[in-house]
């Protein structure tokens, strides 16, 4: 089973990398970019065939390692 964990910065947390990317997009001539926030995507293959169980397991992985919940939120999706 394939899953995707998306980790994003919480609202209000300063994202200097996102800001730099935002500036670079502007410099490339892309007008109308309001703001950029950088995050991370983890594509994970799990052996389980039970989607609910796999999701619980992936939530635990995200909370324990993939995200730092002081500054980041995470979202788990079962892809197929």
């Amino acid at each position: 089973m394939k899953a995707r964990v998306t980790v994003t910065l919480k609202n209000g947390v300063l994202d200097p990398q996102g800001k730099a990317i935002e500036g670079a997009l502007g410099a490339l001539g892309f007008a109308g970019v309001g703001s950029v926030r950088q995050g991370k995507v983890f594509d994970i293959e799990v052996e389980s065939t039970d989607a609910a169980k796999a999701k619980t397991e992936l939530e635990a992985m995200a909370a324990k390692l993939l995200a730092n919940t002081v500054i980041e939120n995470y979202r788990v999706e079962i892809v197929d």
């Binding site: 300063l14 200097p16 990398q17 730099a20 324990k64 390692l65 993939l66 730092n68 002081v70 500054i71």
Partner: protein, 220 residues
């Protein structure tokens, strides 16, 4: 006085730390490998600087979940002094032994230079050798030194006199100019600057020495 320096794959300041402690105490610290589950009985545990696990995922994130960290948490709970410098500070935050997180420097550049720090509290075994408000010199060398925490935790840190050092001129965007903080029980200090690199005149100064002298004498 016994001390231990914990080494992870990618640590690179452990030799400086060992040399500094040996120079000051005359006793060579034990070096402990990250995969160990137990620590020898020591009075001071140091997590040195470097790039543990190449800063993969987040600085300190993977090291913070290694077997040795359980042992460090247990010793800290018993009141043993724990010092985390630079990557060591990042690891302590990721392990939840100190609050907050170290994010990418606000200016996005790796900063390697000498800065000035203000000693904000002398109420700890690490800082009691300084005068309150004293300005000391210390090198910094980091890309992720931008200390962040929520407003509530920040208020607590300030209210409980747990800000150990502040930057005189903030180099990395840290909230409230914070350079180093203490744990609730005040026996864990995490700081981005490197006091171990200013301990004898040959280093160009000795401003880091009182920190080690105090930490090491507290338990002698």
């Amino acid at each position: 006085m016994k001390s231990a320096v914990v080494v992870f794959p990618g640590s690179n300041r452990e030799r400086d730390m060992v040399a500094a402690i040996e120079k000051i105490t005359g006793h060579r610290p034990v070096t402990v490998w990250h995969g160990d589950h137990d620590l020898p009985k020591v009075d001071l545990i140091v997590i040195p600087g470097g790039f543990s696990y190449g800063d993969y995922l987040r600085s300190g994130a993977i090291a913070a979940r290694e077997p040795i960290m359980g042992a460090i948490a247990r010793e800290a709970e018993r009141g043993v002094a724990v010092l985390g410098v630079c990557n060591g500070f990042q690891i302590l935050c990721e392990a939840g032994l100190l609050p907050g997180v170290l994010m990418r420097n606000a200016g996005l550049k790796f900063i390697c230079k000498e800065v000035e720090l203000r000693v904000e509290t002398t109420a700890s075994q690490f800082t009691k050798g300084y005068a309150k408000g004293a300005v000391i010199r210390s090198p910094v060398a980091h890309g992720d030194g931008n200390y962040r925490t929520d407003d509530e935790t920040l208020a607590r840190l300030k209210g409980e006199d747990r800000v150990a050092f502040r930057y005189v001129a903030n180099p990395n965007g840290s909230v409230d100019d914070i350079a180093g903080i203490l744990s609730e029980k005040r026996n864990i200090l995490g700081m981005m600057p490197h006091p171990e690199n200013l301990i004898e005149p040959l280093n160009g100064g000795t401003d880091g020495r009182p920190l080690f002298e105090a930490a090491l004498s507290a338990v002698a």
